[in-house]
Symmetry: C2
Subunit: 286 residues, 2 copies
């Protein structure tokens, strides 16, 4: 997440190559030269590809002498990461494809270099990348969908770093509960703008007191809010104004299939039905 | 969802073949013979496949004279749906594959036949199927991930039908907000066990009063709960007991890449670093 006050990074550490081969690998890497630059790279997808990319990003110096350690902008740093993705692709993709394995990796790169502002990028498998702006203030990679709704609801550029970290943890809690391929411990790094060094970092395991409090409180209060929302009113009189899910003058009908002649097993009285042909007239392809 | 009191079905109506070709098609179909049987089928995936399957399910009578209209158990009804999937596969899959289109369809079938209990099935693209039991009291097809966490948190077999309908709507609201491929109107059908007819049905559009109330209230109260959770305490003293995210005696460190010799641009003092080799020793493939 990219906020006005800085950046928040959160990653899990579960990897799996089939459910019987689950491992713990940390997916967040810090490139830090205190006072000069602080960059964080997080990876999702194939772990061997991720590690190969990280190795190249850390060590590579191009023919112009440029490296992650001396470029003067985050944009150039993102290009270095993109080039590393392409280098690994050239080296590995063919052999992987021969074993039926996709070249699958996504990367988030964020940080600050010198006097430049904080910037956040997402790098794709093809080595191309996009940058986060105020309208889209965060990126997610890996199992992103479960945890997206809460971020969409609460995060904007003005959110404080502590609130954003809290939101990231709640989002991850939802993901952890619903998807077994995501697992503890978590790496949480909060970067305050212009510090040019890691300011706050913690590895969160199942014993972490704050994360346990969040897990308990969030689930419990969500249930309370849920219970506090009134049940729907069905088939309300037309003058009813509150909590009306359906009213007697609404007349909405499901798509019913007409019972064919030959199927009148019971011989029960049947009301007139809407046929499929009445409902589906369009010939466009979907 | 399958509850002790009955069944709850909710579907959206957005289909798309690329973002520039979006349509509204209802994905829920009712096979109802009042007093004898009430079955609901919902589909996700390729729309032409879904409609072809529905047509066959509605009309097909096998060589033993069995059809969706006269089988005596939901299990047999699920077999009829599975057979219809296979019939359409045989007819269409080769031509679709030639155009690079997967044979992609998922189906939920639920209902009640005669004196049998309410049953709920999920049918796969291969025509095989699974049944819901108390440990897994719901199925989702299509864009399922966004809305899963809230269902996981509140639904169990004892949940009332109204509460379950409410939960389904909240879950769908989260999905609608986070994914553009899901759209209004929604079809909501609530079936009370042993009625053997559609008891409650409503098509929900953006004007529906109850759904609007849910959208407003849920988002707003979620934010309130979010704001009510205290911010984390960083670098707490060892004796601090509450809301501790990290404490001074925790000593967790990010994976830092050592700055290579050649990259000392700034010449700033650097603290000792943990190397990649220390962190990643395993040779297993992930």
């Amino acid at each position: 997440m990219r906020l006005n006050q800085g950046l928040v990074f959160l990653s899990d550490s579960r990897t799996n190559a089939g459910v019987d081969q689950v491992g713990t690998f940390r997916k967040m890497t810090v490139f830090e030269h205190p006072g000069d630059r602080m960059l964080v790279m997080m990876t999702a997808g194939n772990l061997s590809i991720s590690q190969a990319i990280r190795q190249i990003v850390a060590e590579h110096v191009d023919s112009d002498g440029r490296s992650i350690w001396n470029v003067t902008s985050m944009y150039d740093a993102a290009r270095i990461v993109g080039d590393a993705v392409r280098t690994v692709h050239q080296r590995e993709a063919k052999a992987l494809a021969a074993c039926g394995i996709d070249f699958n990796v996504s990367i988030i790169l964020g940080g600050q270099i010198g006097a430049e502002r904080c910037r956040l990028f997402q790098v794709y498998s093809a080595g191309n990348f996009i940058e986060s702006h105020d309208e889209n203030t965060y990126f997610q990679i890996g199992e992103a969908k479960y945890g997206k709704p809460i971020i969409d609801r609460v995060i904007n550029p003005a959110t404080s770093l502590d609130e954003a970290a809290k939101c990231a943890l709640i989002s991850m809690d939802s993901t952890l509960r619903s998807n077994i391929s995501v697992g503890l411990p978590l790496d949480l790094l909060v970067y305050e703008t212009e510090r040019l060094a890691v300011t706050r970092f913690v590895t969160i395991d199942e014993k972490n007191q704050y994360f346990r409090m969040i897990r308990d409180t969030w689930g419990q209060q969500l249930k309370q809010v849920f219970e506090g929302i009134v049940d729907p009113v069905w088939n309300a009189a037309p003058e009813t104004m509150l909590n009306v899910l359906s009213s007697t003058n609404m007349n909405s009908k499901p798509v019913r299939v007409a019972i064919p002649e030959h199927a009148g097993r019971g011989g029960l009285a049947v009301t007139p039905l809407q046929s499929l042909a009445q409902q589906f007239g369009s010939g466009e392809q979907h």
